[in-house]
Assembly symmetry: C2
Homo-oligomer: 121 residues x 2
């Protein structure tokens, strides 16, 4: 069964969800699937520029964590998000990350903008 198995302790389930998301290429793939609803491996190959087996490995991770599902039609395999809520999670993460980065930006700017006190250590 998938790693998102409700019989596991809750903190582990939550950590597993985040583990599935914890790689730039997998984020990329999930955002592609968030936008396109469904995509073939070939499409994702060109979109990401990855080598086939490398992409396939990450897709396998996403499948194992239960984040995506795949379906073969003729010789092409199509992927979709396993749950629409995943794109919602990514959206929230994106927004919050934006705020966080803006926060630290303005803090940095604040500090950078302070008048230089000549003797300050």
């Amino acid at each position: 069964m998938a790693v998102l198995d409700e019989r596991r302790p809750l903190y582990e389930i939550k950590a597993n969800l985040f583990k599935g998301l914890a790689h730039p290429y997998r984020i990329r793939v999930l955002e592609i699937l968030s936008a396109a609803d469904e995509a073939s491996v070939a499409e994702m190959l060109t979109a990401t520029g990855l080598e086939a087996s490398h992409l396939s490995q990450h897709l396998a991770v996403l499948r194992r964590y239960g984040l995506v599902v795949s379906e073969r039609r003729a010789s092409v395999v199509y992927y979709r998000l396993a749950h629409p809520q995943i794109s919602e999670l990514l959206r929230v993460a994106r927004v919050l990350l934006g705020e966080i980065l803006a926060d630290t930006d303005s803090q940095r700017d604040l500090v950078a903008g302070l008048p230089t006190i000549p003797d300050a250590r």
Copy 2:
């Protein structure tokens, strides 16, 4: 600088955020800090039951990823979330995870509740 550094490519930043969250004890710690606003290492020790150096290692990871900040008052070190939005992200993840698990539950129940077709393989 923290791993949440806006000069890095965006997918990497996002993946780093999730990497910081990708461990059950760190989730536990962040939820403690979400609820309590501030907590000493000693408090987290008793709350989690971890060994001191083990907890400290995970706190170091959280600091490195820029998810928490610490402050020493007398001989006690207090931790807080670096950004309030982090508790928001955890909240959203919790809700979505609830929906996802409910989804798969009901699917399982659906399948489990189907009449058994005698001749089905």
